[in-house]
């Protein structure tokens, strides 16, 4: 993918906030392996990380389980 100054082509990218565009361009310049290192993190999530295995018959059942069991601040509740 050729790298160019995105600000030179407002037709292509005009609707994208400039700060996001800069982040997208910076990411595009990094090798995939580097992007992985920046992107995947590990922090403890209460309840969610406390069982080694879970299986749900339906996505609706999984969503409901999240809403009933996970702390709100994790953001898994539906809007």
């Amino acid at each position: 993918m050729p790298i160019q100054d995105p600000r030179q082509d407002s037709k292509l990218f005009g609707a994208i906030p400039p700060e996001w565009l800069e982040e997208f361009e910076a990411a595009a310049r990094r090798p995939l392996k580097t992007r992985f290192r920046y992107a995947f993190i590990k922090t403890y999530r209460p309840v969610l990380d406390d069982s080694p295995f879970r299986a749900f018959d339906s996505m609706e059942g999984y969503r409901r389980w999240c809403e009933e069991n996970l702390p709100d601040w994790l953001g898994y509740g539906r809007v």
């Binding site: 997208f24 995947f40 990380d49 069982s51 080694p52 295995f53 339906s58």
Partner: protein, 155 residues
Amino acid sequence: MGAFEYRQAEEIRDAFSRHGVRYLFIGKSGAILLGFPDTTQDADLFVERSLENGEALVAALPDLGFDLTPQQAQEVRAGKDFVQLKNGPFDLDLVFAPDGIETFADAWNRRVEVEGFPVCHPDDIIASKEATNRLKDRESLPRLRSFRDYWKARR
């Protein structure tokens, strides 16, 4: 257990290829493969639900270090809608019926290949997150939509 690493994604790709598992990276992990700069914890895989694919998946997971009991293996094999694995070297979510996507075949036909990794098209990743409508997705969707526009313009 540490963060998901590039070499582990390669291990998924290689083990699933050996065993013939049909799958796609989806969710934010899929978006990251496409170039989306953001953070996440889990690798999310959209797995085709079929008897043959379930068998292949159960055969492949031990190669990646996931230790399944016979009952857990049966639940994976059966293609429960959502399976969360935290009994291996990294967190892995197996999604057999993601919200917002009609069929695996549809998503497969629209897939994007990134260095040998099969990834859902950004339109499908966004459709799935829109349908899920979680608070954490709603917060990230505007930036993800902008990335989709950027990605399409760059192709």
